[in-house]
């Protein structure tokens, strides 16, 4: 009897820019999707060996364990300042920050606004999941009105806690910002759009056009207290209306490739 011949067709593999290791992220969390998209972009652009990442404080504090490139771990909110220092003395390198909503839009508001205003030639990936994940579910600057968190147990009362911050709308007003878009990770079609935006953001940096940022609406099933699949629906039903997807600022040099 002849030995059957196996034909192997590789349709899916780990990007070289992603380490072969388990992550600490909860089941259903979209950090893993965001990580993979970034890693695919670094691979496709051939820039892994020239890239320096800056990790935040928050759930993605250990991002440096997952990316196969040089990494610094910043203080809470200070990643854009740290990235500024790195980039200015290493202008030929690609420098990106990966920050959550508490890191970027609360404690690090000054640093992100001014990095963008200076037109720092860095890329920021902004994960907006409307909650503090690492400290287990407190109100974030992007928590929606009425949303229950452990620090707004009766729902966010805007009379007491104010309103959520729409970061892309703010950052896109700054002349130094070259590319500011919001995407979502709640389904495959949107994930594909997110990847395209990440590619464009890194291209903007490679072309030296100024500050680039991709906001990604993300899920936190654990701290939202709902199953992963429902969490994706929650993004679509509650977050997308509050944080409209779209292009807030796109430098003309990359606008041609936009949808």
């Amino acid at each position: 009897m002849a030995t059957p011949q196996m034909v192997e067709t590789l349709i899916y593999e780990r990007p070289e820019s992603l380490n072969a290791t388990h992550t600490h992220y909860c089941p259903g969390c979209t950090h893993g999707v965001a990580h993979r998209l970034i890693a695919e972009v670094l691979d496709e652009m051939g820039i892994r060996e020239d890239t320096i990442g800056v990790a935040p404080v928050g759930c993605s504090v250990f991002a440096y364990n997952y990316f196969n490139c040089d990494f610094a771990e910043a203080a809470h909110g200070r990643a854009p300042a740290m990235a500024t220092g790195l980039k200015r003395v290493s202008p030929g390198k690609i420098v990106f920050t990966y920050q959550g909503d508490g890191d970027l839009a609360a404690i690090g508001t000054a640093e992100i606004i001014h990095a963008a205003a200076r037109g720092e030639n860095i890329t920021t990936i902004f994960i907006n999941n409307a909650i503090y994940g690492m400290t287990s579910g407190q109100m974030a600057p992007t928590t929606l009105p009425g949303q229950r968190t452990t620090s707004t147990p009766n729902g966010r009362d805007v009379e007491v806690h104010g309103f959520p911050i729409r970061v892309c709308e703010v950052i896109s007003q700054l002349d130094g910002a070259a590319f500011v878009v919001r995407r979502s990770l709640h389904d495959v079609a949107n994930i594909r759009k997110a990847k395209k935006a990440l590619r464009q953001a890194f291209e903007v940096q490679r072309m030296g056009l100024g500050f680039s940022m991709v906001e990604l609406l993300s899920s936190c099933p654990t701290n939202w207290g709902i199953p992963p699949e429902k969490a994706l629906d929650w993004i679509k039903e509650h977050m997308v209306p509050a944080f409209p997807l779209g292009d807030y600022k796109v430098h003309p040099a990359v606008a041609a490739g936009q949808e």
Binding site: E49, F71, A72, A74, R78, G85, R88, H114
Partner: protein, 357 residues
């Protein structure tokens, strides 16, 4: 190099340029702003980095980022600004990247004023930020020393991969006196950045610069490493200057501007026949405990002079261990002691000794 009339703030900034400082990040604050202004002109002219940050918080984190890339980098500020930097300094200490900072101290607490003070001693010398770490702290008393110690700070920061803080005050920052600048050193070539630096993982495993050790076992191991490094610093980097201590029965201990004023008072007291000398600590960390201890075995009394309410005196007490009486003379809140006031304090100590005898 010829001696020239230099303002302290400009002198240390130019000294840093000549020591190969590749990037400066700062925020304007009196009485150190001339340093930032000097860097704003000089650094771009030389193709180097200058950024006026949005805050001292951002400035120190930019310093942190550039330090991760393995370049010589610094900031300078004054007391309230340095308070804002404490978070970043702790992270820098926890990441073991070399950083130089100059603190031109002013009157406090709070907004205080813009006059010279030594009120930051405890904050700077004992660590300042959270966690177990000590920066090397160097205290100049003249513009020349401010220049020389700034240059040395870069070498020490790289030797130990630590923070070196040059601790001066508004008097030294603002005064002009003749001094000599060092020769120009080139900046480090890109390909000569240290192996641990973040330069892109080309043909090597990725480098990570971080201050996080989530496992307490690992964090304690790291803390032991920091303690071991501090022991090496304490064994090798103590600096001080003696004046007229050979036959002294009274030893003054004073650093920086207070030390310089005390020097004048010592000369005047000697003319009155009082056998008094001065030990001026230059390294505040590592502190010259051994020298103070030695002096306590020779003299009958000590006098500590500071421009604060008595901060360094605690280190003097630690070394003296009660063997001789220690008096204190201090001015606070931006007030600078006059040599005559220090002379009076010396006379009082002297009179006390005569009474005892």
């Amino acid at each position: 190099m010829a001696r020239e009339l230099l303002k302290g703030n400009v002198a240390f900034a130019e000294a840093a340029v000549r020591a190969g400082c590749e990037a400066y990040f700062g925020y304007p604050i009196t009485p150190q702003t001339e340093a930032l202004e000097h860097m704003a002109k000089r650094m771009p002219d030389l193709g180097r980095t200058f950024i006026q940050a949005e805050s001292e918080v951002a400035a120190i984190n930019m310093v942190y980022g550039a330090a991760c890339a393995g370049v010589r980098v610094m900031s300078s500020s004054s007391s309230p600004g340095v308070s804002l930097m404490m978070e970043g300094l702790s992270y820098i200490a926890g990441s073991e990247v070399p950083v130089v900072l100059v603190d031109i101290m002013r009157g406090g607490p709070g907004l205080g004023n813009i006059a010279p003070s030594q009120g930051d001693y405890n904050q700077i010398v004992k660590g300042g930020g959270h966690g177990d770490y000590r920066p090397i702290v160097l205290a100049p008393a003249t513009v020349q020393e401010l220049i020389d110690l700034t240059v040395e700070a870069f070498d020490l920061a790289e030797k130990y991969r630590c923070i070196v803080i040059v601790l001066a005050d508004g008097n030294l920052g603002q005064m002009m006196e003749p001094a000599e600048l060092p020769a120009m050193q080139p900046v480090r070539k890109r390909e000569e950045r240290p192996g641990w630096a973040l330069t892109g993982a080309r043909g090597r495993r990725p480098n990570v610069v971080s201050s996080i050790y989530i496992d307490p076992v690992q964090e304690e191991i790291f803390n032991h490493k920091l303690m071991e490094k501090q022991a090496r610093i304490e064994a090798s980097e103590v600096r001080y200057r003696d004046l007229a201590l050979e036959d002294a029965e009274i030893a003054i201990v004073a650093f920086g501007t207070a030390g310089r004023i005390a020097q004048s008072a010592v000369k005047a007291a000697r003319e009155e026949g009082i056998r008094v000398g001065l030990m001026r600590p230059i390294s505040l960390y590592p502190y010259p405990y051994a020298r103070v201890k030695e002096l306590a075995g020779h003299v009958r009394a000590m006098l500590v002079v500071e421009m604060n309410g008595g901060q360094m005196i605690e280190d003097v007490r630690l070394a003296v261990e009660g063997r001789v009486p220690i008096s204190f003379f201090g001015r606070m809140g931006g007030m600078v002691p006059l040599p005559d006031e220090v002379l009076d304090a010396i006379r009082k100590v002297h009179a006390g000794l005569a009474q005892a005898a």
